[in-house]
Amino acid sequence: MPRMPIARGTYVALGALLCFSGCATTQSHVSFLAEHYPPHAADAAVEVFRDGVPDRAFNRIARLDVHLEKTGFAKSYFAEALPELKKQARQAGADAVIEIEEKRSQILETMVYHVTATGVRYVPSP
């Protein structure tokens, strides 16, 4: 019957899709440390300091969390979390991101990657 090859191909494609794509989720959270600030524009620059702190004076204004989970033993990396981290920073009104902490764990086939950082706002020059 000519239906079988087509059906078999569909199942193979579905299986491959499940095997190689799995499921990926990204969650994020902003927690203001004290005062709330207005958000920056969506295209505003956000400096990211993986080590050290900015040269100029700043205030820590928010805790930023980005959480990525992928099934199928697929790992996540900082580059994948970075756009969401910057987005959260802009929403918090932060000019830069410092104190970046990465955490990895695993639940069976699910690879968990979490980034916690501090959003800072520069103190205006006098």
Binding site: M1, R3, M4, A7, Y11, L14, L18, C19, G22, C23, A24, T25, Q27, H29, S31, L33, A34, E35, V53, P54, D55, R56, A57, F58, N59, R60, I61, R63, D65, H67, E69, T71, G72, K103, I107, L108, E109, T110, V112, H114, T116, T118, V120, V123
Partner: protein
């Protein structure tokens, strides 16, 4: 049996697997983890929210003395993960202290890919409370220039 009669079986099986992975029926709960912290309830509540965020929960309820989050179901190649509901109940214990009770509820279906988050949440809360930002949440200028 004709081959065409069998052609729907894998699709049915695949559909059943997907439905099972996506279905959530809250059932099992543990006894939880209890602790007393040397922090005011409002500070501990904030730490609880942070801790639930770190383990991948979406915050569903956020009251001054109760925080609840849920981990999303993730479809996987084998078992996936997620579906747990994690709660932190905070009770003021006087002298600026707070008693907390952390509990994880697993859903019946998909339990194989779930874990108990009580201790990890407590660990994250303690870490969050020890951080300078949590201990002094005021807008303090950095000493750097």
């Amino acid at each position: 049996m004709s081959r065409s009669n069998c052609s729907g079986a894998p699709a049915l099986f695949l559909s059943a697997v997907l439905v099972i992975l996506h279905t959530s029926v809250a059932t099992a709960a543990d006894d939880g983890v209890q602790a007393t912290l040397d922090h005011p309830v409002e500070v501990a509540q904030k730490a609880a929210v942070n801790a639930l965020t770190v383990i991948g929960c979406t915050i569903k309820k956020e009251d001054p003395t109760y925080v609840e989050g849920k981990r999303e179901h993730k479809v996987g190649v084998f078992v996936g993960s997620g579906g747990e509901t994690v709660s932190v109940t905070l009770t003021p214990a006087g002298d600026g202290k707070v008693s907390i009770n952390i509990r994880t509820k697993k859903s019946f279906v998909g339990m194989a890919g779930q874990k108990n988050w009580d201790q990890p949440v407590l660990d994250e809360m303690l870490k969050s409370l020890a951080a300078p930002a949590a201990a002094a949440p005021t807008q303090a200028p950095s000493p750097n220039t």
